[in-house]
Symmetry: D2
Subunit: 458 residues, 4 copies
């Protein structure tokens, strides 16, 4: 069967399977039809086609939408992509009027319009999932707001913190993700239709009318830019890479904390899997997959950036490759946010394991140094003194709480009676009163801020 | 010499060369000192150190800044990084008071503060370069506002456009780059100081005072997030990758247009190089390097994303690797924007070569189809008819302008006398009156919009 | 329905859809069954199961293979992956004996075995496609062995070369690709079966027997390495990235050469597409897609490297993500090699356009410098003299062939009568007699070498 | 000062700083001089320059090499790169004869020759470091050959293994790295000199003589390929990415094992660092940096692949960007291998912590299932039974060793007396006798294989 663009060609096309994108872009059928309806109505309004032709086209497109939705029609590689498939179905459905739909339009601005429409909605979906996860994190933090745990740097016990404080760090990461996605959505909200193949049109198209019909708040100001811009997709992919980076960190911690050695948490059975050979195994499979899927989202970003490198203006078929990378990113991020929220919502927390050893693991050493600072010892000197105390303890297998006053004073005369058993995890944490610090007041303030945020529109 | 953190350690450190970052982070010395001054003044204000100690520290830091600037002191791997080097110099300079500077502070929040300060300024520099290039593009477009050239899609001649219209597409790409950088700068404008190692401080630090002193508009709300957040650097790297993608496209076009075959432009001798062997060569070296350097900026983004993947909270030394990737990105983007602006500002344009063949290369075929549409022929049918005309011409070695009325009418009775020589490039372009289209009016409007933008603050 | 590993679990699994891989790994069903047959036969041979049980299992597996091939059974997310699906089908098919198949085996070594088997064959397929393309390149070079064209560096005309010489550069690139793939296949040829979950087995498995049955030439020497090694996949992805890099260069050239401005070649209609709006367009779509698909293969490499970063031993579910990236790489590379070979095989070459202007474009300047060298002028001086001659010509709009002897001698007395019209493209090319040079003799030798290579096994 | 290639140019060059590569490529000065000496000797041998000129050049080059080595001369951006700097120094040193050095040569084949020479040596260095690390791993394994530890999958305790077995997995990973590097070195061992700018030479160069002088075993067969091939660098970067992936896994484990919770090992003080604020901290800094530096090596691979994408033949300045990415990869990989070997060589191992809990953590469940299999219970049924036993124990806070015979038999009559205390870690490990399994015999065989390998040349 002849291609709709085939007038100039001789012989048979032998690359249809290689070049066809219908397998991927059929996902855009609703947006494609929505864009075509707006285009047809504008053509009729401008008198480029008759009002009746306009009505026939719109009715025809609605019929086709229903048929595609119900699976009543077949989309074929013969017609390459969703645009040509729908146009061919339309011509079949309504005859001559259908041959007028593509007046003043090119697939270049058409596919760009479809993707802009699609992505505006898609970003909204991701934002919803982000909020769900933020909500789960805040809920869990609130549920365990005073549970103590070791705070780590370099995976070494550093200073005791509240579990809720640790969790809330993720809330703020996800909040930045939200901001980036909202900004990306704003830059997506621009209508390319009317840019034609690359040069606009000599027909009296009303670009503003179309854009408003489709719910866009602005127009592309330059037609060549309109058809060759993929920034909005790359910006989405970049924001998604950061989301996955954050999720990979959270996943890593949940996997770590689920280990026999940490034992801080346990995933609900519903989100873990067993082993085909080892009967005792309960693997934090979901979180491993989230961590692993970070790779594909990073990879998709590489794909898109590579694809666009060095392409002269305006449209090239290379750009057709954008869709799989973007859809895969979208599906992956959406699914990973959702499963992580469920895992958090059902997480079993073991406060005793978390708090165990906090007074004996030297993570209060900084408090001891601060004690000396309060006695007027310069910090750098205090640090050195406490370092030596720690070395002494390690050599003798002692913990700080086992030291006598004499021993303390052998290291510095600035120590007095109150140092013996004077530092403990609970008061250390409580003392961290700086805004944003690990103490209970700060956590309360953070949860309040989080709640306000979760009540705000997005 | 003993490490300032060495109290707990025995034996000699043998990994100083491997772990030291002074070779890279010395670039932060002004920001480090600025941050330390603000910290010391706050410590004094809060009575954590005495007013006199505060003054000694501030004076000492200013002396050290001058010494580093003049090269009067040596920064050593012995002291690992810029922070420890400056602290050691300070203690050497002012004695005991110097040992109090680090009170209530960790390198974790210190380095984060330095980088936030540095990046706020650095993004400002990139924005300035972006504006310079935007300006160069608009200037060139205005200088040649009515020069015609072939518009391309798939690198095939598609429709004639104005050279200025083609150029302005880049203006709008760069405008989006600007928006992204401004957003990134906003998210950079957050003060981590006071977060300590990860948990805040038990000392009565005034985080708000410090932040205001340093010109930050907000505080990190969670201390663990504050020390482990590298989003702002990755966001800068992502925005930079898009800038380079845009520059790679422009560079590709300038290289293409400089070829013997295109001959549309010639780089000024000042921005081209010769060959060591071929005496006639004039290579668009600068533009090739810009295109090539796209790779390193993409690579740096990969570096940063990889580095952060799966790191548990809070700080890890992995994050120390952020600086080289970010600084290299910054230097590369800044230099590439600057050189491209210079190349554009001095570009030799060959309007005749650009316009040559526009009436004989079939790029007016769409206008012929639109002609038929105006006669009531449905677009899809018109497309097929003109495709057949083109095939006929190709077979006979003819151009459209050589066809007689009889020949035209053999393809469609809808053709009449005015088709013979009735389409030409100039009127085709002039007819593209849709907003954002390739016509002169649209270009005028785009230039006006660009001028308004260039007059706006950033 | 209960999971086959579910003994230890309570409650319903709610992450089956997220964790299931059957959508992707069903592609491995033949390899999975092949591996299971070898495993069952070995279990029987070792007396771990009875001979009869062994026969039942093998027969059952063959039935299931036929059913999957014919679509007679459904593979479900319920059973997660191809391994559990087949085991469940087997148990359904043959009862108790089926419950013995997984004796002494884990999915960890099973999936690794499947992938090794799959990739050995898959690499063979890619090698075949590489040979087809090499063959197409050599055929085309031979068909046009004496066609002259400009040789470019920096996309500037540099020195005339033979089209065949230019083409053969790609033959040698593809030859290296072949070498890398063969090496990758060798490192893939290692049997992991018998490694169990990570620790081998306490049952008397005969790993050598299984490996030989499956056609492997060696065993993994360490069970933990066996189940956690994905090097062979990353090595394949790396080799594929280089193949795509090469194809992207060839594609770029074919796109460039197909442009109006170059006009060196034309793709056959069968491998080009038209425009939905512009009737005259013939776009080198296939080659643009090949170039664009480079992005996804690079992206897949990023995916795999990211996925494996920092994973502790031994198996993690992250690794499950390997398959989509590898299969997509495989499919992309295979299709791109095939389509490129077809494009080359059907390419229309325009020798006149290629040769046009070769005597007037200064690309013989190096020959003039070599002429001076032959007269004893030091090369660096000769280079400068000819550079000045070129500058003189450019200023006056002259070509080298238009200069009189007087003019030549005004630049250097070393010029004599024979310089006037003494250099031309054909003799310049013919004179490049160094091995591997652009001359006809070298091309002949290259083609002979290529033919020998194409006759060798791989 | 005029550029050596400047004959054709007017006006001042204003992009020297941007285009100069001397800051990076000065590292190639020895190779550049070595290549020039071989070239000059060949020119003299072929009578293209006189024997005396040849001697002058060679002597001059040796003087310049000494001067560069001692810092007696300045290399300037004025002369762009190492090649032009040395040529200019040579002309200054020996006059006219120096102007003849570049006869029959281009920087395109010259820089390729330099890099091939450099990389052959550099790969040798990396191979040496790989062997050092392999050696450290095998030493450590041998030193602790019978130490038991939990084997993990999904970071869950899976089955007990020997620490030595776990370590040896890394030996085999590094062995594959070695194979890949050796293959990369073989493909690097090809001489491009004589390819000229792209087309070979019309002078009677003896490429074979030069290649032999420089120690190459083969010649590039096509001059355009010779100057535009960067495969060997990308192949090195790919092999390096895999090395870093392996090191990141080992680093992750060492960091994990150094944690308070695991406590399996402790880095020597010489390879750890302290905290600026927390006196007790001992951070596995070196291993974190190794893990973090994985990012830059992955990034460099992205850089190189991106850079080469879509470049037409032959040379482009984009390729100049190869050096920083390759040198950074080389330095990073070399340093990371070295520091990791030192960390392994000085590692403190805590066998008791490793072995603790092995009998009570359910990691012997697979052995119990195998016990049932030995009693004739089909494996899948045995798996389910033991899963239920584990569930029972978890609910009651029991370990397997606490179960009475009655309890065992309540789950399956196939259990008999010997199951009570019948499984323990030591015998479980000892029973894993399959080749490559976790048992002592297998480890012994692996160490023997490793020793043989370490004695082999590379």
């Amino acid at each position: 069967m002849a291609k709709l663009w085939g007038g100039r060609f001789t012989g048979e096309n032998r690359s249809a399977h290689f070049t066809a994108s219908i397998g991927t872009d059929q996902r855009l059928y609703r947006e494609d039809i929505k864009g075509s309806i707006a285009h047809a109505e504008m053509l009729a309004h401008q008198g480029i086609i008759s009002a009746e032709e306009g009505r026939h086209i719109v009715d025809g497109l609605r019929i086709i939408e229903a048929k595609i939705a119900s699976g009543a029609v077949e989309l074929t590689e013969e017609h390459e992509d969703i645009h040509m498939n729908i146009e061919a179905l339309l011509i079949e459905e309504i005859g001559t009027a259908g041959e007028k739909l593509h007046t003043g339009r090119s697939r270049n601005d058409q596919v760009a319009t479809d993707m802009h429409l699609y992505m505006k909605t898609a970003i909204g979906t991701v934002l919803k999932r982000l909020r769900d996860l933020q909500d789960a994190v805040v809920e869990l933090a609130e549920r365990h707001s005073m549970v103590m745990m070791p705070g780590y740097t370099h995976l070494q016990r550093a200073q005791p913190v509240l579990f809720s404080h640790h969790l809330l760090a993720y809330f703020f990461m996800l909040k930045r993700d939200e901001e980036r996605l909202i900004a990306a959505r704003e830059r997506t909200d621009q209508c390319p239709l009317g840019a034609g193949a690359l040069a606009g049109s000599s027909l009296p198209l009303d670009r503003v009318m179309v854009a408003e019909d489709l719910g866009f708040t602005s127009l592309y100001a330059n037609s060549m830019d309109a058809v060759s811009d993929r920034d909005y997709l790359i910006e989405f992919a970049s924001a998604s890479a950061l989301i996955m980076m954050h999720l990979s960190r959270l996943a890593e911690e949940l996997i770590l904390w689920s280990s026999h050695e940490f034992g801080f948490v346990e995933l609900d059975d519903a989100y873990a899997t067993g082993s085909s050979i080892m009967p005792q195994k309960k693997n934090p499979d979901t979180m491993e997959l989230v961590r692993g899927k970070t790779g594909r989202v990073y990879g998709n970003l590489t794909t898109l950036l590579t694809m666009m490198k060095s392409l002269p203006l305006a449209y090239h078929s290379d750009m057709q490759e954008d869709k799989e990378a973007v859809f895969d990113t979208l599906d992956t991020v959406t699914a990973c946010l959702a499963i992580t929220a469920e895992v958090i919502n059902t997480l079993h927390v073991h406060p005793k394991r978390m708090a165990s050893g906090l007074n004996d693991d030297f993570s209060l050493a900084t408090d001891v140094a601060d004690y000396l600072v309060a006695q007027g010892v310069p910090f750098r000197r205090a640090h050195r003194i406490v370092g030596e105390v720690v070395r002494y303890c390690l050599a003798g297998g002692l913990s700080l709480s086992e030291l006598t006053l004499d021993t303390w004073q052998a290291f510095s005369p600035a120590f007095s009676e109150d140092i013996v058993n004077g530092v403990d995890a609970a008061s250390s944490i409580a003392g961290r009163k700086t805004p944003g610090g690990a103490g209970g007041e700060s956590v309360k303030a953070q949860i309040e801020e989080a709640r306000r945020h979760l009540a705000s529109p997005y």
